[in-house]
Amino acid sequence: MAVDMRLPTVRKQISLSGSQSTDGKHLVVPGDVITSDTGFMRGHGTYMDDEKLTASVAGEVERVNKLICVRPLKTRFNGEVGDVVVGRITEVQQKRWKVETNSRLDSVLLLSSVNLPGGELRRRSAEDELAMRDYLQEGDLISAEVQSVFSDGALSLHTRSLKYGKLGQGVLVQVSPSLVKRQKTHFHNLPCGASIILGNNGYIWLYPTPGQQDEEAGGYYTSLEPVPLPDREVISRLRNCLLALAAHKVLLYDTSVLYCYESSLSHQMKDILKPEIMDEIVMETRQRLLEQEG
């Protein structure tokens, strides 16, 4: 039995030392005029007010050629075609599942966008429709890819690849979508002994690295065999590391997660989330990331 009671810690003012602060960045708050030049195109997070391009959210200005958008620090997931997401089934409807993906509307997974057992090109029969809950039921987690975006902003997902599908045993960590770095692949088998899916929507799935035999399962069979203890330890440690990094707003990608994992090894797993230890670990991770960059 362990209980750790303490007084709340006073937040440290982060020193905004001029050297490496925000000089490279253009930060705006709602109502700030970004430019009155009419040659630019209006992107997300901006609006036109009297011919002036004005910010509507607080964040960093991003300029791609003529397109100006403002990326807020924290927001719901704004999905784009090709994004990898992890989501939870909330409703089984006719020929479709409703999936919670941290977007502003529930996403949709059509029955026609999943690989059913027995081959890709099989026709969807009436029996399939009735048996939808056997494949995926309320509460189940899936990994999927954004197939298209409806006009109202809702996402349509698909799992037509062996890497997507229903998720088995593991741990879900939810962070802000803006903390997940966009990469070529969001599936990683970390060398520390576990695998990770970094969903673009901020939902991160940690699971034991699958053995070879799991490959042909087609994504709808999940093993309920107990996960060995060492794997669990790694997963739990990774989970706490992810939360620590997210609390300190460090971008999440395979290297940052791995560095954090390594610097946490000197501490007990359950202590990682204590504020002072969290500070220490994250500081060390940052340092290593900087070294690697520089």
Binding site: I14, L16, Q20, S21, T22, K25, L27, V29, P30, G31, G45, Y47, D49, T54, S56, V57, A58, G59, E60, P72, L73, K74, T75, R76, R104, L105, D106, D152, G153, A154, S178, L179, K181, H248, K249, V250, L251
Partner: protein
């Protein structure tokens, strides 16, 4: 309240402020982890918490879904211990329902709801400690929470109260000044365009003074907007320093 002099001959108010002086404002964004956006504000002794959820799928009856913009849903409540005399219910009485409605109207004017068709944005505010200017504290807290949640707005919405004593407009009234029965004006302003999102006034005031009173309230709102602006910029800077790649 005959014996109580709201403005001394030297021009000081009950709590020692000048007529146009605001109370001390402290605020913080991102108080809670689970909500999409949250903020806490202290305006003198008035303390308010605001939490924003969404935009998300419309909950409850589907019928309230709007197909061209987002639904804004507000609930105002007061902690039972927030007032000097204990409140029986945190919300649900006429005054709180009216306040919820006013908040909703205020933010419908400011949030760019047309960007989010068929969704819903929940704004919940809670007064933890009440010492006058509850509406304005709620509006200011909710503005910060909306910014925290990354929901697009035309501009900040800043609200402040103003009163009128002996031909002098007083800014940012505290509870003692509000309850005296004098004129109270609450104003929610979009400071940059000087658009008024909501105006509400109580008790008698001669028409000729309205201009001065509104001007004072607008000045106070602009003062507040500076504070909010610095809070947001500070927050923005801190976080973006951290997230640099």
């Amino acid at each position: 309240m005959a014996g109580l002099e709201l403005l001394s001959d030297q021009g000081y108010r009950l709590d020692g402020r000048r007529a146009a002086e605001l109370r001390k404002v402290q605020a913080r964004m991102g108080v809670f982890a689970q909500a999409d956006g949250s903020a806490y504000i202290e305006q003198g002794n008035t303390r308010a918490l605001a939490v924003v959820y969404g935009p998300h799928e419309v909950r409850g009856s589907r019928s309230k879904t709007l197909h061209d913009r987002a639904v804004i849903n507000c609930q105002y409540s007061m902690a039972t211990f927030s007032t000097a005399e204990r409140k029986r219910r945190p919300h649900g009485d006429r005054k709180s329902s009216e306040m919820s409605l006013h908040l909703k109207q205020t933010f419908e004017a400011a949030v760019l709801t047309q960007l989010y068709p068929r969704s819903q944005i929940d704004i919940y505010v809670k007064i933890l400690q009440s010492d006058g200017g509850n509406y304005s504290a709620c509006v200011n807290a909710a503005t910060l929470a909306l910014v925290d949640a990354g929901i697009p707005m035309r501009d900040y919405v800043c609200a402040c109260t103003a009163g009128f004593v002996e031909d002098t407009p007083l800014a940012d009234l505290c509870h003692a000044e509000e309850s005296g029965g004098g004129t109270t004006l609450a104003l929610a302003l979009l400071p940059r365009s000087e658009n008024i999102a909501l105006v509400q006034m109580d008790a008698r005031l001669h028409q000729d003074h309205l201009d001065a009173l509104m001007e004072a309230a607008m000045m106070a709102c602009k003062g507040l907007s500076k504070v909010l602006d610095s809070v947001v910029r500070q927050h923005l800077q801190e976080v973006s320093v951290l997230t640099r790649e």
